[in-house]
């Protein structure tokens, strides 16, 4: 009996991570309001990415398990935080949001080092993500204009996540690797 083919949960995780990160940056540079960020953040960046992360457990991929579940929770928490401010439930000031982002920056440092053991594309994605988080941290503590710089920088991060997503999907569909992700930075 042939073994049933299973999908790679990372494609959904990377899709949700990339799309919601992209939409938040559309807001940060001033193109859109917060509405799409909140609703996409809850469903795609949050719920879908978190489920993808939980499915990574079965594949034995601890990196994906932690990263997708973690960033899925990031999006759910961020959107609930924005909704909480709107409805006056445990409101968060700009300083509070800044510390929230710093904690995620520290979390990202750990995964950034891990990403260097996976592939060049993932290491680059996490390098860009870490820089983006640091820029947002600075934007929350005295340098508000860096919000826009972070916006453009994190758009590249989101595009990199989609590149890896496309690498997995196209390798499956075309039967060969047409979007290489490169060797790990740390072998």
């Amino acid at each position: 009996m042939a073994e049933q083919k299973l999908g790679n949960p990372a494609v959904v995780g990377l899709a949700g991570f990339g799309l919601t990160t992209m939409v938040l940056q559309f807001h940060n540079v001033g193109w859109i309001g917060l509405g799409p960020v909140v609703w996409l953040g809850l469903i795609f960046g949050g719920l879908a990415q978190m489920i993808a992360g939980l499915q990574e457990m079965k594949t034995g991929n601890n990196f994906g398990y932690c990263a997708f579940t973690g960033y899925g929770c990031f999006w759910i928490a961020l959107t609930l935080l924005l909704l909480g401010n709107h409805y006056n439930i445990y409101t968060s000031s700009k300083t509070d949001v800044g510390w929230f982002l710093i904690s995620w920056t520290l979390f990202t440092v750990i995964l950034w080092i891990g990403a260097m053991r996976v592939s060049s594309a993932l290491a680059l994605t996490f390098t860009l993500l870490l820089i983006g988080f640091i820029l947002l941290d600075l934007a929350h503590f005295g340098y508000p204009d860096l919000t826009v710089v972070a916006g453009y920088e994190l758009m590249v991060t989101a595009a990199m996540a989609w590149y890896i997503m496309a690498h997995i999907i196209y390798a499956d569909l075309f039967g060969r690797d047409i979007l290489p992700v490169g060797k790990p930075w740390i072998s």
Partner: protein
């Protein structure tokens, strides 16, 4: 003599009555101290509440409208009026091309002043609420620090024909120094 005293007392009473009659109208005029305190409170409110707080500044019966003044919120980077309790028609519209009757680009000046560390004052002509005509207005602009946004400012003004910008700048400097502000 007694008649003279009576006239004098009546005159005094009339004078006091006159002062009392004038007092309510003066009480309806916002002063520079109130404007600075309201604008600073508005910036703090937006820091704490974020973008969710914008809508409260569109309420003409809310706490950001008092006496003959009000706080309005605008985005210098996106060139948009975010909230204005007296002119809902301006909300969401570009602001940088708005001029007063002397051709002054009001919001370009406000954005420049608001970017100063303590904020700043800008003089221009604007309709006074309820007056139906242009008045000399001097507004205090200050940057508001909001998550995932840049270039947001809050402002409110006084309608005063006599006070000068240097006087207001000195006043702002005193209000920014806790030791000196206590002495006011």
């Amino acid at each position: 003599m007694k008649f003279g005293k009576t006239i004098a007392v009546m005159g005094l009473l009339l004078a006091c009555g006159g002062v009392r009659a004038a007092a309510p109208s003066e009480a309806q005029v916002a002063n520079a101290e109130e404007v600075v305190n309201k604008v600073r409170a508005a910036a703090r409110f937006l820091h704490d509440k974020g973008a969710s707080g914008y809508s409260e500044f569109n309420n003409k019966d809310g706490k950001w409208v008092w006496k003959d003044s009000y706080v309005f919120v605008y985005d210098c980077r996106k060139d948009r009026m975010i909230a204005h309790p007296m002119r809902p028609d301006l909300v969401g519209k570009p602001i940088m091309q708005v001029t007063d009757n002397s051709g002054k680009y009001i919001f370009r000046e406000l954005c420049k002043a608001g970017n100063e560390a303590r904020g700043g004052w800008v003089e221009y002509s604007w309709p006074k609420p309820g007056a139906g005509r242009l008045s000399r207005k001097i507004s205090y602009a200050l940057a508001a620090d909001i998550s995932f946004a840049a270039g947001i400012q809050v402002s409110a003004g006084i309608y005063d024909e006599g006070i000068t910008l240097p006087e207001l700048s000195q006043f702002l400097e005193r209000m920014s120094d806790p030791a000196k502000y206590q002495a006011l």
